[in-house]
Point group: C2
Chain length 185, copies 2
DNA sequence: GCGAAGTGTTCGTCAAACCGAACAACCCGA
DNA sequence: TCGGGTTGTTCGGTTTGACGAACACTTCGC
């Protein structure tokens, strides 16, 4: 459930897509990347299973980050009005609502939440996914936030980030909302 | 200047790191991924140049997104008070200030800005890096925003996202601020 | 109309990634 | 102490990805 798409087809598509975006020919790209054009031809055809070095060379030659070549297509445009939002997380033991604004696509490990908190009991978050990072920008209110043993107090416009893989807490001191960027890795 | 690190060493490190994080043995990982443990051993040793399918299988077996295996390490904790912030972008032709909160590391293509706008002339942004996406959550005020030919008007708590590689504009209708997530690819 | 220069494709050959088994090093229980 | 069961390593053999040349095919220019 992590990487749904068969890689070969995706790479083939990405490769052709990027090359055409760059506006260069298969022959030229092969030359720049130091590959045989036959190799490249087969890759774009979906035949063949490139080595890392090969794909890397193509990424460099195309001037795009590597990951770009192993991921699907981008997205359109979207508006979510305050209070709308489909996916909502509600923590049972705290006055806490989080609205998912933009989920990370398969390999874009960055989820965007709108988080609303009411003063009351603090939200205790045990350490979750190792290596994740939380970014928070406060929209309104005041929130005491951060690692469980050493929280900071922030207000509108303030920004905090901290590792998500250690125990931490949110505690609203007054009705508040914030933007939460959950960055997995 | 796109992918600075030699891939083989990075992959070797990432592989071992992820495996240890998962708390499984080399043998077990090889079994789950359907690979020979000799192969895996060589990969973790930095010897050898895995094929995409091989690396993919490892990503699946480890339960981590593919990109995770071709990228370096993460980060610590940080607080930026409203008004602070080192790197500031000022657009000459608009009342517009953007503060960089969190820059994307080499392969984390996602920059986090705090954007402050004063009503006045609109900020016209020509299409920039192809494939980039902009996410905006309004903190306060009202902003007319989006593709140049079809903008939307948003207020506190509202979320908008749109492709950054088409011409677009920001226009504050009153003093406003917003969180801007610039997502390159 | 015909050669020249470009496109991307399909062939044999070779190097190398992958495999399976045999290997040394370690831990733990009898 | 001596096994059996781990760990991860190193060794030949086979599969296969990458190469380079020859291949059709289109688009020029003389």
């Amino acid at each position: 459930m992590q990487q749904p798409a068969p890689p070969l087809a995706v790479i083939a598509a990405a490769l052709r897509r990027e090359r055409e975006r760059a506006g260069i020919t298969l022959t030229e790209l092969a030359r720049r990347a130091g590959l045989a054009k036959s190799t490249l031809s087969q890759l774009e055809a979906g035949t063949g299973n490139p080595s890392i070095e090969t794909l890397w060379a193509l990424g460099v030659a195309l001037g795009v980050p590597f990951s770009r070549l192993v991921e699907p297509e981008p997205s359109p445009i979207r508006v979510i009005r305050a209070g709308e939002g489909a996916t909502r997380l509600r923590a049972d033991h705290a006055d806490f609502v989080a609205t998912l604004l933009a989920a990370g696509s398969p390999h874009v490990r960055r989820d965007l939440y709108l988080m609303e908190l009411e003063p009351g009991v603090a939200r205790e978050a045990e350490a979750h996914i190792p290596g994740s990072t939380e970014h928070i920008v406060v929209g309104a209110g005041r929130i005491r936030i951060g690692p469980a043993d050493d929280p900071v107090e922030v207000g509108p416009g303030d920004y905090v980030s901290f590792p998500g893989d250690i125990p931490h807490r949110y505690e609203a001191l007054e009705p508040s909302w914030a933007v939460l960027i959950m960055e997995h890795r």
